[in-house]
């Protein structure tokens, strides 16, 4: 087959990709096996990995990362699909509502984190003040180690549901109207239209949302750091924040080893899921 573009078109992108991704990745594999002070290193084999696995907060980190990724992904997918279904029906002010749903995605994560942090303050925060007006004593959202992680997850869902909704809207709009008409002629109701047409045929959109949300959740860092800093104690530490703290402590080799492990961990979870989901896709 004749190529549509010559190969040298790849050069600029290839250079950027190598310099900013491939080379640093290769370097990080090397430095993860050294004792490193940024301008001096000593090869120590797998000692950093051994030490990283002995990290006492690591168990919490792995558990929290999985909980964070899957819960926020589930929340975004379910809410996003429901919102998208709602926003593709015939309602008034559809464009306005779509913009409102998408709006949180435009904000900086750090700004969202700080805003929710002050709203979730146990005594002076907006949320608990409002709840107390209704006679409910709100929980200590970020101060209680048992629920702090879920407070951050709620914020992440609030922030990420807009993108998921937009992807779902695009997916739903791509479904040919014929299917719905056929269903109508056969006398189907709207539940059937959702479960037998919308849901299976927006599968590609669902897969995209799941993969994006999952990978985003697995390597989330900024929101947790802005809201809790991994605290109270280590209760909301994610893998990324553990790595960050090690880096901040000056343990550069150890932190790099942590990053390599995180890379492998994300890949091990994301690739099989990606494969699995793609197999289930149906052609329109």
């Amino acid at each position: 087959m004749k190529q549509m573009y010559p190969y040298y078109f790849l050069i600029p992108a290839g250079i950027i990709y190598s310099v900013f991704f491939l080379v640093p990745t290769a370097m990080s594999f090397f430095y993860s096996m050294t004792w490193w002070t940024l301008d001096d290193w000593e090869f120590i084999g797998f000692e950093n990995f051994v030490q990283f696995f002995q990290e006492p907060s690591l168990r919490i980190g792995f558990r929290n990362t999985l909980v964070f990724a899957f819960t926020s992904m589930g929340g975004k997918a379910v809410l996003g699909l429901l919102l998208a279904t709602f926003l593709t029906t015939k309602i008034r002010n559809k464009d306005l509502l779509r913009s409102v749903v998408f709006f949180p995605a435009l904000l900086s994560t750090i700004a969202v984190g700080y805003t929710f942090k002050s709203m979730m303050h146990p005594t002076n925060g907006l949320i608990n003040s409002a709840l107390s007006k209704l006679g409910i004593t709100g929980p200590n959202w970020l101060g209680n180690p048992d629920i702090a992680l879920f407070s951050v997850i709620l914020t992440e869902i609030w922030k990420g549901v807009g993108i998921a909704t937009v992807i779902f809207i695009a997916g739903i709009m791509a479904i040919p109207k014929d299917y719905y008409e056929a269903l109508k002629i056969d006398g189907g109701n709207s539940w059937q239209s959702f479960f037998h047409i919308t849901l299976p045929l927006s599968r590609p959109a669902l897969n995209t949302v799941i993969i994006l949300a999952l990978i985003g959740g697995l390597r989330n860092f900024d929101l947790v750091w802005a809201m809790t800093g991994g605290g109270p104690g280590f209760s909301t530490d994610l893998l990324a924040s553990i790595v960050y703290k090690q880096y901040a402590s000056g343990f550069f080799g150890l932190a790099t080893a942590g990053n390599v492990l995180m890379f492998i961990f994300v890949a091990l979870i994301a690739f099989p899921i990606f494969k699995f989901l793609n197999r289930k896709e149906v052609d329109l």
């Binding site: 109270p232 880096y247 901040a248």
Partner: protein, 450 residues
Amino acid sequence: MTKKKLHFLTIVSFLFIFMLLAGCSNSDSTSSEGGSSGSSEGSSGESSGTDEPVTLTLLIGESDDTEGFRAVIAEIEKELNIKTEVELRPGGPEGENVVKTRLATGTMNDLVLFNSGSLLMALNPDKYFVDLSGEAFMDRVMDTYKEVVSDNGKVFAIPNKSSQVGAWLYNKKIYEELGLEVPKTWDELMENSEKIKAAGKTAVIGTYGEIWTSQLPILADYYNVNSEVPDFAEQYTAGEAKYSNTPEALRGFERIQEIGERGLMNEDFAVATYNQGMEMLANGEGAHYPMLSQVLPLIKENYGDKVEDIGVFPQPSDSPDTNGLTVWMPSGIMINKESAHVDAAKKWMEFYISDKAIEIYESHSKSIGPYVIEGVEVPEDSYAAVKEMMPYFESGNVYPALEFVSPIKGPNLPQICTSVGSLQMTAAEAAKMYDDDVEKQAKQLGLDWD
């Protein structure tokens, strides 16, 4: 047409590679030749810098930004024609990270204010900062201070203010109202706290929202540890003494745990900030705040004369006979080796620790403890709390905090302390975890522990 395109693309990609290489090599050369380029540029700065105004950049922590400090800087601009551009960074681990990153990437300001003692040692000061041991103005600085800012026989910093103590600040009005006496033992302190709690006030102010503040009850316990185990620092630095195998040191974690278990802290302790803690203490909503005395001038600035209601007592030990203050050496101001204005910075420093500068500083922000500069006395009109601490200094019942007598401080202590205070971890678990943390830091410092 395609040939032209090919040429164009090749040129563009070569330009790209060239730029990237130039970028890499540039950063390499600045970091490796730092010392020599710093001194040569410094001397060129001297020849032209006498008349023309020089601008020095300075990186300081938010809590170091006092009125007195600003007043001295303004005076330096007037007298020496050296303008100082102050940049603020957060305190605690977040701030340490900013400083470490700036140093490692060669983007540090001309002057930097940072902790003395073990935290300074963790920066590898010999590599980044100008040696001041030969400067005449360093003679004014007491040897006790020079010790905590020296490495390999070189001295790197001048003190930014007076020394201070880590202790229990308390609201004297609450003590009067409830008829309480200053506690001499830990049990008495707990009794007092229970009474304060019963009276509907916060007994112990916790501000874990800024996690460095959570460490005070363990760090300020060091006078007590040292009184009972005088060789702890030495053994700890050698990797022999651990928190988990030294019951006297473990007490610090146990005290944090006890405060948590008794529920003595404010409801929002897990998220409250340093500023909120200071407000609670000044307004009498909270009775005790285990804190550094550096908070006093900030209370004065924000809450005026309420600072006179604040008193101080040492963290009590388990015996009434052991009662003394744990002292913090002042933070240091260092000159970046790569600065283009090393000589101007030295002049800046000479003025900063002169009698005149200290007088100006005092007229805005009073000292928070004795000075570490020869011949400078704590003034008569100091804060009430500072007057209360002077007898301990006069009778010699003071000892530096562990971070000034050992080069090792584990970086995760703040997180570990908040885990204990919020009852997610017991004191014994915390001690074990901190021992591991300390060991990692010792490895990174290149200490041989095996």
